[in-house]
């Protein structure tokens, strides 16, 4: 069976607003609330120039329950 990798999201923290920010595969930004399954309650966000987004390693995505957390999917 052929196994292909799914493109991953990119994680950031916005320290000034104390929030997680996610850039999804289609280029949209989301802010995640501090709850148990944050991705389910994500809100769209449009980064402004004054926003400093600090990149966070991809392995934190599992903890946040992001949908592309799976390493691979079967094709």
């Amino acid at each position: 069976m052929l196994r292909v990798r799914t493109p991953k999201v990119t994680l950031y923290v916005d320290r000034s607003r104390q929030q997680w920010v996610v850039l999804d595969q289609s280029g949209r930004f989301w802010v995640l609330p501090n709850v148990e399954n944050p991705w389910d309650q994500r809100q769209p966000i449009y980064p402004t120039e004054d926003m400093e987004l600090e990149p966070i390693p991809g392995h934190y995505r599992y903890m946040l329950g992001l949908p592309s957390g799976g390493e691979e999917r079967d094709a």
Binding site: R15, E36, P57, G58, H59, G70
Partner: protein, 931 residues
């Protein structure tokens, strides 16, 4: 066979997992490449010591005097608090590469005192100041110092003045493979009573946060019986373990999870985070301690008051399920009924084991050095975990993603998955494997555990390590860098050892390694021989700043270097492959052609060193020395006349052959004769391989006798390479006569620097411009013994040069070994050169017999430099001491190269009568002192 040897056999035959638990915890996981997800690849600044107490690691764990299982699921180590420090002492502190004036450096005093190869018995010592640990003072003072200054050490801060510190000994003994006893003994060396929190800590490596569907393990307090606090550890793959702490001691539970608030400025979803125990003890903030008494990290809080000169003991036990905590080892008195008896027994068994390892002829001080060297080797094992493919993907450098970012390093090593116990050079300064270091480690490790040595060599050749193109990974800062190819040499050495012990070597292992080494050899030939003329480059080749320029970077002149060391390494690689193929051909004629191939390839490479290049080959007839040759873009060439280890390495490319394979295949000998007869220039350029020596032996050597004598006269000149403590990496002649080269309007200068480097080349934390390095000294000694067994006693040379004292080459080898051992041994004044001018280490009874095996040594006075716990390849001193204590020149000449292996075999088989009684366990005296 003694009991520890039985354990080794049981482990090897997979009857009992005696090695499942060991000192596999790193001493520094922060500041490593694998934990670095920064854009620019600044590992030291990305994950700092300050973050380490609060941030969960991705790939491994660290701690003080720690242990773990061999997949590092469950970890145990020590934390301490003296009531004054701003943080718990949970891990060793040191300066990062940019903070110190000579690169990264641990600023702590800790000692590996003892270990058996199965870790059935281990002993460790940490010296903990009673005053506040001078973190800021170390950083600030070091920052002000320049490259010409000494490093600022912890003793210099005065924090150990008046002996106001605790000696914290940690002893481990295994009652069974899954039943570990831990004894912590705290001595107050100061003049007044002092208080201390001792926090034995158990935790799970965080694996659940980094992948989907991973089951979270759990630590939970269980009902306490009188006089004991008990934790049950449950993990889906490890099963259940019981952690029993003597006394009704408070157990503080939290989670091994990142404190998001502190690290990233984000609210924590749970108050139970990695630094909660620190915050509870140091700040009295218990909000992060789980009142339900469960979590993934727990510490027992022992609050001790230790009288001046007094001591206190804490006893712990970590074992598998059995009947649970009510079950005692002897069925009578709980977890600690048989505790002391087992401890004593394991220590006695360790003494018994080492009586068969340490030659009887060594005196007590020598035996102490050898035993602590081996202890350091064994304590330096570490679970090394790095899945490069996932790491690349997690940092957005997915190798199969079109829009990926290029990773700052290791971008082409996505095939790699490392998750094994590996011998580290130094678990704080170099907590990652280094391929050529490892080949040397095996020389010492095989004194006590041949199987582990074999496994380590094999590991680097596995598909999870070796690049598909045949390159052996160098080290995590740049797996694609090039280390000297010494793997084949270590392989044949290890094979011969086992052959000596058992009468028969492991041919399957040898064959399998040979196949992979062939790939590696081909990689070298295709990648590092630019012109196809059998002269090699290779870049820094492990010798950091030895060259005029950074040899791994584009040259300021343009063009390229033909490297004397690179070419010599390849000549030695050929000899090693030739020897392996010849050995395999004794039972499998398919290998005959391979042996012939490597013989011929050796002829080409060796002869190219001297006859190629017209007037600018590597050999300089006027100086009688080898140099790198700079080939410029305009076609001009010149030798870079730095007299360094680079020019001594051709001397090391020598191997004596006893002709066993040729007797079986005489037609091969005839092919060699025809080959050489047709190429008289080759025969003239190197030592004549057809010329018989003692007992009809043959010698593969780049140097003929005349050139050998010329190189030796420089090497044995105390004004050049020969120091009181071994062979220097750079000739002392450059103290008065620096080598200067001008290019592009800039002056490049190489001066003799016996201590630390004065430049930042290769991080500035190592120096090959003068100091003494153990591995290359070991290679020189090996070479001299090869020459000796060929030339015999009639070949003598003045040693030291100009002394009027003639020695044969065995005598020279022994003399160099003796000088190397002197670094560590007490001299006639009771001082150990390794500790230089440190009064504490030289005179204090609680310090003076504790040994550190540094990375390299001062070229004039033998003082230890660089990494302080690089027992790694410096541990090779144990092998050298063993060699010259078990072989003598007559026997060596008579028996040739087999003699040492067979002698070592007799020892390993239990034939030793026992080392001197007074030498037995100096370690016991050390720990007993002050009790």
């Amino acid at each position: 066979m003694n009991i520890e040897q039985v354990r080794l056999k049981e482990a090897q035959e997979q009857l009992k997992a005696w090695k499942r638990w060991g000192p596999y915890l790193s001493e520094r996981q922060w500041g490593t490449v694998r934990e670095d997800y920064s854009e620019e690849g600044n590992a030291w600044n990305y994950f700092t010591h300050d973050q380490a107490r609060s941030r969960a690691y991705r790939w491994g764990e660290d701690g003080l005097a720690g242990i773990s299982d061999d997949q590092q699921r469950l970890c145990f180590s020590l934390a301490l608090w003296n009531g004054r420090d701003p943080i718990l002492k949970e891990r060793l502190f040191g300066l990062t590469n940019s903070e110190s004036n000579h690169g990264e450096d641990v600023k702590e005093y800790y000692f590996y005192l003892d270990s058996t190869p199965t870790h059935s018995w281990m002993k460790y010592l940490y010296k903990y100041p009673q005053a506040a640990f001078p973190y800021g003072q170390l950083v600030e003072t070091s920052r002000r110092r320049g490259p010409g200054d000494f490093e600022y050490e912890l003793l210099d801060t005065g924090v150990f003045d008046e002996d106001r510190y605790f000696d914290v000994f940690v002893d481990y003994a295994k009652a069974s493979p899954e039943d570990l006893l831990v004894r912590i003994t705290v001595h107050n060396r100061g003049p007044e009573a002092a208080e201390l929190h001792v926090l034995p800590t158990l935790w799970f490596r965080n694996q659940w946060s980094w992948q989907d569907g991973s089951e979270r393990p759990e630590l939970r307090q269980v009902d306490v019986r009188s006089g004991c606090s008990v934790v049950r550890a449950t993990d889906a793959r490890l099963g259940e373990r019981w952690f029993e702490c003597e006394g009704e001691v408070p157990l503080l539970f939290t989670e091994n999870e990142t404190n998001m608030q502190r690290v990233f400025g984000l609210p924590n979803r749970s108050p139970y985070v990695k630094d909660s125990i620190n915050n509870s003890i140091v700040h009295g903030d218990d909000s992060g301690i789980n009142p339900e008494k469960r979590g993934t990290k727990v510490a027992a809080d022992y609050r001790l008051r230790v009288e001046a000169g007094g001591s206190k003991v804490i006893r712990l036990r970590l074992r598998d399920g059995g009947g649970g905590p009510e079950e005692s080892g002897d069925g009578s008195a709980g977890a600690f009924g048989d505790f002391d008896r087992t401890m004593d027994l394991r220590r006695a068994e360790a003494d018994e084991f080492y009586r068969d390892v340490i030659p009887q002829s060594l005196n007590a001080d020598e035996a102490n050095v050898m035993r602590q060297a081996l202890a350091g080797m064994l304590w330096s094992k570490q679970f090394y975990h790095y899945d490069v493919d996932r790491w690349l993907e997690e940092r957005g450098s997915d190798p199969f993603k079109a829009s990926r970012k290029v990773a700052p390093r290791n971008d082409h090593w996505h095939h790699m998955y490392n998750g094994d116990v590996i011998s580290m050079p130094d678990k704080w300064e170099y907590p990652w494997y280094a391929a050529w270091d490892l080949a040397f480690h095996v020389l010492a490790l095989t004194l006590v555990d041949a199987e582990f040595g074999k496994q380590q060599l094999k590991l680097m050749l596995r598909e999870r390590y070796m690049h598909p193109n045949g390159q052996i990974p160098a080290y995590e800062w740049n797996f694609g860098d090039v280390n000297p190819p010494v793997h084949a040499w270590s392989t044949i050495f290890t094979y011969r050892l086992e052959q000596g012990v058992k009468g028969q070597g492991d041919r399957d292992w040898l064959k399998s390694n040979f196949q992979k080494l062939l790939l590696n050899f081909t990689w070298w030939v295709n990648r590092k021989d630019r012109t196809g003329r059998n002269v090699f480059e290779g870049g820094f080749l492990g010798l950091d700043n030895i060259g005029v320029f950074d040899r791994s970077a584009p040259l300021p002149t343009g063009g390229y270097l033909e490297q004397a060391d690179g070419t010599a390494w390849m000549a030695l690689f050929c000899q090693n492959m030739m020897e392996i193929a010849a050995e395999l051909s004794l039972t499998d004629s398919d290998y005959v052609d391979m042996a012939v191939k490597f013989v011929e390839h050796y002829f080409w490479i060796a002869s190219s060193m001297t006859h190629l290049g017209g007037g600018t080959g590597m050999w300089d007839e006027e100086d009688g020395f080898f140099y790198d040759v700079l080939r410029l873009p305009n076609g001009e060439s010149q030798r870079l006349k730095v007299r360094s280890m680079v020019g001594l390495l051709p001397l090391c490319a020598t191997t004596m052959f006893d002709g066993v394979a040729l007797k079986k295949y005489p037609e091969v000998g005839e092919r060699f004769v025809r080959f050489l007869d047709a190429r008289p220039e080759i025969r003239a350029a190197i030592h004549d391989p057809l010329k018989p020596g003692v007992a009809g032996r043959r010698l593969a050597s780049i140097l003929d006798e005349t050139r050998l004598r010329r190189v030796l006269s420089r090497m044995l000149d105390e004004n050049e390479f020969l120091s009181e403590f071994g062979i220097r990496s750079l000739s002392r002649c450059h103290a008065d006569h620096p080598y200067v080269f001008n290019a592009g309007g800039r002056e490049y200068r190489v001066s003799y620097l016996p201590a630390e480097s004065d430049s930042g080349m290769f991080g500035g934390n190592s120096n090959w411009r003068g100091p003494i390095w153990m591995p290359v000294n070991a290679l020189i000694i090996r070479a001299l013994l090869q020459y000796y067994s060929y030339f015999g006693t009639n070949f003598t040379i003045e040693c030291p040069t100009g002394s009027g004292r003639q020695m044969n080459l065995y005598g020279v080898a022994e003399e160099i070994s003796r000088r190397l051992a002197r670094i560590f041994l007490r001299d006639e004044h009771g001082r150990r050169p390794v500790y230089g001018g440190s009064k504490k280490f030289q005179e204090d009874p609680h310090w003076r017999d504790l040994l550190q095996f540094f990375e390299y040594f001062h070229g004039d006075n033998g003082a230890g430099l660089g990494a302080s716990h690089q027992t790694g390849w410096t541990g090779v001193i144990a092998r050298l001491m063993h060699l010259f204590a078990t072989v003598n020149p007559e026997v060596a000449l008579q028996g040739g190269k087999k003699v040492y292996f067979e002698t070592a075999g007799e020892k390993a088989a239990g034939g030793a009568a026992g080392a001197a009684a007074e030498a037995e366990s100096r370690v016991a005296e050390l720990s007993g002192a002050g009790r």
